[in-house]
């Protein structure tokens, strides 16, 4: 039971609502990862895996566990510009990858709304992007990866390995991913052609996604969660295409063309923007902001295609550095639910209605289209997802959780799915039901085989009873 108090640290999930004290270890090699697992086994302590800490809830924190932070394993090992593949240590971030490959005309095949996740985290959660409706999650583009299993074995898994689709998506509960070889997307330009369309209600939202489903490269839509009645579901739909006729390509493929500006209107340093955002970060402020955004979407640039850099379009969340601090002191949770397409219009409308009834409207609503996938903890459905951000305070926390449970119940009844990287509120039976008995039994079997001492855990795993030690 001994442990080194000098390693004690406190980390939080990205949403800043929950945190945990743990013993921090930052390995730089696969051998060190194996040593840490061995140390854990000998001392009886559990291990929690953490990448960049971008999961919103409690998936990347573990109270009193060894926190294995992979971010120092950040070497790009080999980039093959002829084949379009990149081989990296698993702590390499999406940002490192795009900066490394863009001048040779490549782009990561799937990216999240932020460029900071590590590959280990990206695979652990099997993240998706705005091209989820045709590309699926990032796991679809992994050629091979190395894993250190807690049972002492080390394996290289490729797409033919039965375990390949199990470790990806397993939320860091089956093995430690230490190296990843990824297939990259060939691009001809550093810009996308982006078409914004202002949509007045739910019906128009779904129609836009249907219309562009077969021809777009990216689709995403913003929802004003404050709009009610006939205006419910209004927002701004964006679709985008890769350019293959860009005469400026050599320039647009330069990293400096991609870099996000560090000021707003060429004047205000972005690093301070969250402080102003904080003033607006309340119900009336956000009602006004959402209204203003919809108004400008309707009046400015509506239906007019324009070029935008890949970074600018992809990494919307990185525009305002430290934006999450606007949610302090209580932090925020994100709920992203995935609903089959035949039920999505009704379920999303009801989700919005529930928020408005509770006077707890999400300050930001984001909708995407998805397809099913074969991974263990899959969140893919032939349908849509709606991501919601809820500010959490001391006084509203209980009500936010009640609302979340009501939303989760709706989704479950419609045969929907959840995404552990975004979760804070699921109850054990919710996750089990969404996963299905078969997948759950498969997980239990693999856990016993690959991690017989239940070394890998997290506060999320304990909450959802995915850690055999928490089942008792």
């Amino acid at each position: 039971m001994t442990a080194d108090l000098n390693r004690m640290t406190h980390v939080t999930g990205f949403g800043l609502v929950t945190g945990a004290d743990s013993y921090l270890y930052r390995p730089t090699s696969e051998d060190e990862v194996a040593d840490i697992i061995e140390l854990a086994r000998k001392s009886g302590r559990q291990v929690t895996l953490r990448g960049a800490g971008r999961s919103y809830g409690d998936a990347n924190i573990g109270s009193e566990t060894i926190l294995l932070d992979i971010s120092r394993m950040n070497q790009i090992l080999h980039f093959d510009s002829a084949q379009g593949t990149i081989d990296c240590q698993a702590g390499v971030t999406l940002e490192q990858i795009w900066r490394h490959v863009i001048e040779d005309g490549y782009w990561p095949p799937v990216v999240s709304g932020t460029m900071f996740p590590t590959l280990a985290g990206a695979l652990g959660m099997n993240l998706h992007g705005k091209n989820a409706f045709q590309a699926g999650p990032i796991g679809n583009f992994v050629l091979e990866y190395d894993v250190v299993f807690p049972n002492g074995t080390r394996r290289t898994l490729n797409q033919n390995s039965p375990l390949f689709s199990k470790i990806i998506s397993s939320a860091g509960l089956l093995g430690v991913i230490t190296r990843v070889k990824l297939k990259l997307k060939k691009i001809q330009s550093g810009d996308l052609r982006v078409l914004p369309i202002s949509v007045p209600n739910w019906q128009a939202q779904f129609a836009a996604f249907e219309e562009f489903n077969d021809q777009a490269d990216y689709m995403v839509s913003w929802i004003d969660c404050f709009a009610r009645g006939e205006k419910a579901g209004r927002g701004l739909f964006h679709t985008a295409w890769y350019l293959d006729d860009d005469t400026d390509a050599p320039l647009s493929l330069r990293p400096e063309h991609q870099d996000l500006p560090d000021t707003i209107l060429g004047r205000f340093p972005k690093s301070t923007v969250w402080r102003y955002l904080k003033k607006l970060n309340n119900r009336p402020g956000m009602r006004f902001t959402n209204w203003g955004k919809y108004l400008s979407a309707k009046l400015l640039g509506n239906g007019k295609p324009h070029p935008q850099s890949l970074v600018g379009f992809s990494f919307l969340l990185d525009y305002v550095p430290g934006w999450r601090k606007a949610y302090l002191p209580g932090g925020f949770i994100q709920i992203q639910t995935f609903v089959p397409k035949e039920h999505a219009p009704r379920v999303f409308a009801e989700q919005l209605h529930l928020q408005q009834e509770a006077k707890l409207e999400s300050f930001l609503g984001v909708m995407k289209r998805h397809i099913p996938d074969q991974f263990l903890f899959s969140h893919g459905v032939d349908g849509y997802s709606l991501a919601l951000d809820f500010k959490v305070t001391k006084s509203n926390k209980e009500r936010v959780w009640q609302l979340a449970h009501a939303i989760n119940d709706l989704v479950l009844a419609a045969g929907g799915k959840f995404y552990l990287a975004k979760d804070s509120t699921l109850r054990p039976e919710d996750f089990k039901q969404s996963l299905g008995d078969e997948a759950f039994a498969e997980y239990a079997r693999l856990k016993l085989e690959l991690d017989p001492d239940a070394i890998l855990t997290s506060d999320l795993a304990k909450r959802l009873l995915l850690d055999p030690r928490s089942v008792g």
Binding site: M1, T2, A3, L5, N6, R7, M8, T9, H10, A20, D21, S63, E64
Partner: protein, 245 residues
């Protein structure tokens, strides 16, 4: 109204009697979790039985320094966290006006000084890493001057105050609250034989201490003590030794 202790995960050393016991009880009563540490296991069991699942008894003799690091980890594992550490162990054997007794003195040094340092070092080491939490030590107004009645007891509390001040100067910059409480007379087993007048009850003292747990600094429990001891601290030594206080 007592301050909320919901979400508190505490270690209380010296939890079997007096102020420590009462702090333990009040945390558990308010919904917090406590690892209750003392030498006398039967007393801890008795207390823990009142709040099953909230008080975890742990037997430890604070004079056994070597066992403290492991016990500390065992306690934080039990709590799955730590945001409050209270050192409330203290002894004050009866010492006659002309008695100089190294055995009794050593006992006070072991419990009031060495035990405190050994435990608080662990809490400070952890909290300077986690950058949150409170460390509370129960000192005494007796530590304000070297009074004739209890040379080593007074000196042991003076030591504790200075040590806590130094710990405060080290770790409060990381957001850790470091609180020294200087109670006056409180009705406890330790003070029973003194037949104190105007003594505060242990319940009232514990409630005040829990209310002060996030207020970094030194605190008296009565406003009159603040005034009285400001004066007493400043009485010149040549006068002080002629006084009967």
């Amino acid at each position: 109204m007592p301050t909320s202790v919901i979400g508190v995960k505490a270690i209380v050393v010296g939890a079997s009697s007096g102020i420590g016991r009462e702090i333990t009880r009040q945390i558990a009563d308010g919904g917090g979790l406590v690892v209750a540490i003392a030498r006398r296991g039967d007393r801890l069991e008795e207390l823990a039985a009142l709040y099953p699942g909230r008080i975890f008894p742990m037997v430890q003799d604070v004079t056994d320094h070597d066992s403290i690091p492991n016990k500390f980890i065992e306690a934080t594992d039990k709590l799955t966290g730590l945001n409050l550490f209270v050192y409330a162990s203290g002894v004050m054997p009866e010492v006659g006006p002309q008695e100089f007794n190294i055995e009794k003195d050593q006992q006070m040094i072991d419990v009031n000084i060495s035990g405190a340092v050994a435990w608080i070092n662990q809490a400070a080491l952890r909290m300077q890493g986690t950058k949150h939490g409170s460390i509370v030590a129960i000192g005494s107004v007796a530590g304000e001057r070297g009074r004739w009645e209890q040379p080593v007891y007074n000196a042991s509390k003076t030591f504790l105050h200075a040590y806590m001040e130094a710990v405060r100067n080290r770790v409060s910059r990381y957001g850790v609250h470091v609180v020294t409480i200087k109670p006056g007379p409180v009705q406890t087993e330790m003070t029973e034989r003194l037949k104190l007048k105007n003594a505060m009850s242990a319940e009232a003292a514990a409630e005040k201490i829990l209310g002060l747990r996030n207020r970094t600094g030194e605190h008296y429990l009565k406003f009159t003590h603040l005034i009285a001891f400001a004066i007493i601290r400043n009485i010149p030594s040549f006068l002080f030794r002629r006084l009967k206080i």
